[in-house]
Symmetry: C2
Subunit: 215 residues, 2 copies
């Protein structure tokens, strides 16, 4: 490869782009209901979506940020509902605390069991994760069925997540699953409505892991 | 693991959820300016974002869909700007035609060269890709600098992509990079404004690969 010598340099610095973006977000958002520790999460979600409506729709359990920081620092596992989240998250910071990011939706035993029960792989992988990991940060951006199953297991005392970031996107059950999440009295980060997705959950998680490193 | 026997079955079928979502999208969207071959892409983008405004903001070069189908069927490489897109795309369909999905932003030579030139890895990885692959489908959901560099190389006759899916999200240069893309007379799929992202680009690409398989 000789791509190194054929073009003139362009001075575009990633850190400058991010810093300028964050300033624009703060300016355009104006007044907001979020605390100083919640705001970096909202800011990064808006940065990842360019969607102020989505940012404003976010809801935090009062303990969410501190619980997330504590879980990461304790080296707890992050369980993602899909591979995209695992691919997008800044894994170095999580691994620096001894944790890691896992996703079980394509495990052969999960796929087999979902087929057998005629249900979603998301449900079965959630069940599997709650039995594999003590605590854990659940990062759900896609499958409402994963979130609903996790909520059921929490209610039945079969799961005790350190933090649930539950922001599945979609038209069937997504908003409803988040309505249910907001009723729980355990640490959660979510939003109201249909919007969400992998990039949004990654943004929230990256914001928290940055706080865990800096704080 | 004994997670297989502990819970009662839930009958939640993924295909039903998707079908119902697509019906809701068509109903809520109502009248729209898209052709029959463009609409499945818009529908899947709305499905991935729950954002009708984003769906309505999409713009297609008149040859975009047919060019994308032809490129996939010819086994052309899909070049993603970030790992999340590579993780999210339905790779089986692309590989079925002999193609694959590659991302070069974390290649050691790219990282080294970006540091040396004090520029973004996205720019350098785009340069590298245009020299590695003839044609190719460029899937850019994050880095406006990648899209701007690709546009420059196209204008200079140094790149001839089969299709550009250019929907970077962000506050600095994202909307502007898409404005530039829309001026090109080569196959592109893009949108107007700041919104976009990995999940959006994945949705568009998955819609096209589905058409390539079915058509």
């Amino acid at each position: 490869m000789d791509f190194k010598t054929e073009f003139k340099p362009l001075t575009v610095q990633p850190q400058e782009i991010e810093g300028k973006s964050f300033e624009m977000i703060t300016e355009e958002l104006g007044e907001h209901p979020f605390t100083d520790e919640q705001y970096p999460v909202v800011q990064r979600v808006i940065h990842a979506s360019a969607d102020f409506e989505l940012g404003r729709s976010m809801v935090f359990h009062p303990d969410a940020i501190q619980a997330g920081i504590a879980a990461l620092r304790a080296g707890q596992t992050v369980i993602a509902d899909v591979q995209m989240i695992q691919a997008g998250v800044s894994k170095d910071r999580i691994r620096g605390f001894g944790g890691d990011v896992h996703v079980h939706i394509s495990d052969p035993d999960v796929m087999e069991e979902a087929k057998r029960l005629n249900t979603t792989r998301a449900i079965i992988s959630t069940r599997k994760a709650t039995q594999m990991y003590e605590g854990g940060i659940y990062a759900i951006g896609n499958a409402p069925t994963a979130l609903l199953e996790l909520i059921r297991l929490v209610k039945e005392g079969q799961a005790k997540p350190g933090l649930i970031i539950g922001m599945p996107v979609g038209f069937v059950s997504a908003a409803e699953s988040k309505d249910e999440l907001r009723k729980l009295d355990i640490p959660f980060i979510t939003n109201i409505g249909r919007k969400g997705g992998s990039t949004i959950v990654v943004a929230a998680l990256n914001a928290i892991s940055l706080m865990a490193v800096k704080a």
